[in-house]
């Protein structure tokens, strides 16, 4: 066990897998210098330009090539830099990667991991701050992963690299520098949530950056008398319905929290599923349906905060 950052944890996972399997390669812009967030640091030195591949600025071809690589026996890790640029590669992700196995009747498999960092970070405004996990959860053929801690970024990346199907792997840009204990060798299975604290008044389901904000509310005692059970979903597809339903069976109330826009966000799926399955009371907290603004005061409107979570929890208790 050692202390490392969320970015370093990803490097470690990838390094281990690349050492074990010569068919694992990574491709994307600026990878040769370790990636702009340091999330490939050290790997170019160890594995060289044939396996940590610097590419032309051409997201469509990066993603499409990864599909071809996967079909021809490699296990590519695709770097999209930020999810906003993955919008330049949507045909390749959706029509080509996600549907390949099904549409060709199982003749081929596309075992790729597409990393596309999400979230608000450093006043990057409308075109560099999006969180689009709901889109991919909606899409047949894709696994959707949203790690919240260094340990999970290590463990979920390893599980994703072992998936035989395309994984949309969404790191949160504000988490790169977050440090934590990481035990090498501990994989985190896809589809298993993490119950972070037990409680009786309501269940808070969140993921990615939302986890830290919810825990901050808890540790600063902002919830006052309220005792929430907090669950980190970790993967959005498959998502751990059992864990969530078990918790709401106890608390009777579900609050889903995410940084993504609330309207048609993945919180709607979790809330609707829980309401259908258990009849519990539900509430969501997500960003208003506005682009992320540049000035701090505007950006904050689209950001989660402990205060917003507590207010939503209080409202749910009165609902």
């Amino acid at each position: 066990m050692s202390t490392m950052s969320y970015a370093q944890a990803a490097c470690l996972a990838l390094q281990e897998v690349m050492r074990a399997d010569a068919n694992v390669v990574a491709l994307g812009e600026d990878l040769g210098r370790g990636g702009v967030f340091g999330q490939y640091r050290g790997l170019p030195q160890e594995f060289g330009p044939e396996r940590i591949i610097d590419t032309p600025i051409s997201e469509a071809n990066i993603m499409g090539a990864a599909v071809g690589m996967a079909l021809a026996g490699l296990r590519p890790v695709v770097e999209m830099r930020v999810i906003d640029f993955a919008l330049c590669a949507m045909d390749e992700i959706i029509n080509q990667a996600a549907k390949n196995r099904y549409m060709f009747g199982g003749q081929g498999r596309v075992p790729l991991v597409a990393r596309m960092p999400i979230g608000i970070w450093s006043a990057s405004a409308a075109q560099h701050s999006q969180s689009l996990e709901a889109w991919f959860a909606h899409m047949p053929g894709l696994v959707v992963v949203t790690p919240a801690t260094p340990q999970d970024n290590y463990g979920l990346l390893k599980s994703s690299l072992a998936s035989g199907d395309p994984v949309i792997y969404m790191e949160h840009k504000e988490l790169w520098g977050v440090e934590g204990e990481v035990t090498a060798g501990v994989e985190v299975p896809l589809g298993k949530a993490n119950v972070l604290c037990e409680g009786s008044d309501l269940t808070i389901v969140t993921w990615s950056r939302g986890v830290g904000v919810a825990l901050e509310a808890l540790s600063t005692k902002a919830f006052k008398g309220i005792r929430p059970e907090i669950i980190d979903l970790r993967t959005l597809w498959p998502w751990d319905r059992d864990a969530v339903f078990k918790s709401v069976a106890k608390t009777g109330r579900l609050l889903v929290v995410h940084e993504a826009v609330q309207v048609a966000g993945f919180g709607a799926e979790v809330a609707a599923s829980a309401a259908e399955a258990t009849g519990c009371k539900v509430r969501r907290l997500g960003s208003p349906r506005i682009p992320v603004g540049y000035a701090q005061v505007l950006e904050n409107e689209a950001r989660l905060s402990p205060a917003k979570i507590v207010a939503a929890a209080e409202a749910l208790l009165k609902q």
């Binding site: 071809n61 090539a65 071809g68 690589m69 080509q96 196995r101 498959p238």
Partner: protein, 334 residues
């Protein structure tokens, strides 16, 4: 069997396949102002026929080996057959049967035979280009001595992935043959006026990819150019480009009467049918008309048998709708 006979036989098999599929599709798709037939057609989905373009598929693919890879377009039957696929399993797929290559999941637009390196037709114009590029990149990284053939239409050359893929292939010096099957039309729109400059070859050359332009209805010309280009690629020369000019005899899809085309142009093009051209050459080479007719009959018979098998083949199970999708989380809930 001499080379031209072999090329001719392959073209004839493709033609027989396309003709049979065309008939089986009548009344299928309800589009182009037509209603769907009362009795469902044997081929229900959109069917893009390569009738008239057989020389490109045959001339290129006889220069490939089984381990070479291939990506195709929406108009992919010819490439699939030429790469070595079984017409029976292809026809089963077009008929939506469980015994088709894709278990009835894909149909014509996604025809594929991964076992012979045919990595799929594609419903998205130009989408095969990045995939082919990546496959070639994998061959290079994995040090496999094979190449990729990447087919696309003239219309595809105006889409971004054309630039991105060709640039990439040249930057990484990949073993890939780009083949532009230029039938001079994109659905209902003549491609010329939509295409700036001297066309696809000029674009390839601007990326320093050597290119040859051939009469795509002359199968010997396609074969010769492919022979040269694939040899250069196999020798480590990096990507090459083949621009083959041909003509689409049918509408965009099988139920499209193609009324937007000038009948004079169509009539002239039909005279340059690659099968007529090749037959003339065979006769000149001293091959007898009877021998050629025998090839024709054999091809038709093969496809007749395929049709019969396909029509009798079983439909997919409902359960199979939930197969060939994510393992992770599968069986838990849909």
């Amino acid at each position: 069997m001499n080379r031209l006979t072999e090329l001719y036989r392959l073209m004839r098999r493709i033609r027989a396949f396309e003709d049979a599929a065309e008939i089986a599709s009548q009344g299928g798709v309800a589009a182009w102002g037509l209603a769907a037939a009362a009795k469902p057609a044997l081929v229900r989905g959109p069917l893009h026929l390569s009738t008239g373009q057989e020389a490109v598929a045959a001339g290129v693919c006889l220069n490939l080996v089984r381990e070479d890879l291939l990506t195709s377009t929406h108009r992919g039957h010819g490439h699939t057959l030429a790469k070595g696929a079984d017409p029976t399993k292809m026809m089963c797929e077009l008929f939506g049967r469980a015994s088709g290559y894709n278990k009835g999941k894909g149909g014509s637009m996604h025809i594929a035979d991964f076992s012979v390196g045919m990595l799929g037709a594609n419903g998205v114009v130009a989408a095969g280009i990045p995939i082919a590029t990546g496959a070639a990149h994998a061959l290079k990284i994995r040090k496999q001595p094979h190449i990729v053939a990447c087919f696309f239409g003239d219309g595809a050359a105006n889409r971004g992935p054309f630039l991105e893929g060709l640039n990439w292939a040249q930057v990484f010096k990949l073993p890939i043959l780009f083949v532009c099957e230029d039938n001079r039309i994109s659905a209902t729109t003549p491609t010329g006026p939509m295409t700036a400059g001297e066309g696809v070859s000029a674009r390839a050359q601007a990326l320093a990819i050597p290119s040859i332009k051939v009469d795509g209805n002359d199968v010997e010309a396609v074969d010769a150019a492919s022979k040269q280009l694939t040899a250069e690629i196999r020798a480590g020369g990096g990507p090459r480009f083949l621009h083959a000019v041909t003509y689409r005899f049918k509408g965009h899809v099988s139920v499209d009467p193609g009324t937007y085309r000038d009948p004079v142009e169509v009539a002239a093009a039909l005279k340059l049918d690659p099968l007529i051209v090749a037959r003339g050459k065979l006769l000149k080479q001293g091959i007898s008309a009877t021998a050629i007719d025998a090839i024709d009959t054999e091809a038709k018979d093969e496809i007749e048998r395929a049709l019969a098998v396909a029509e009798a083949a079983p439909w997919p199970d409902v359960a199979s709708a939930y197969e060939d999708i994510l393992d992770t989380g599968a069986g838990v809930w849909q």
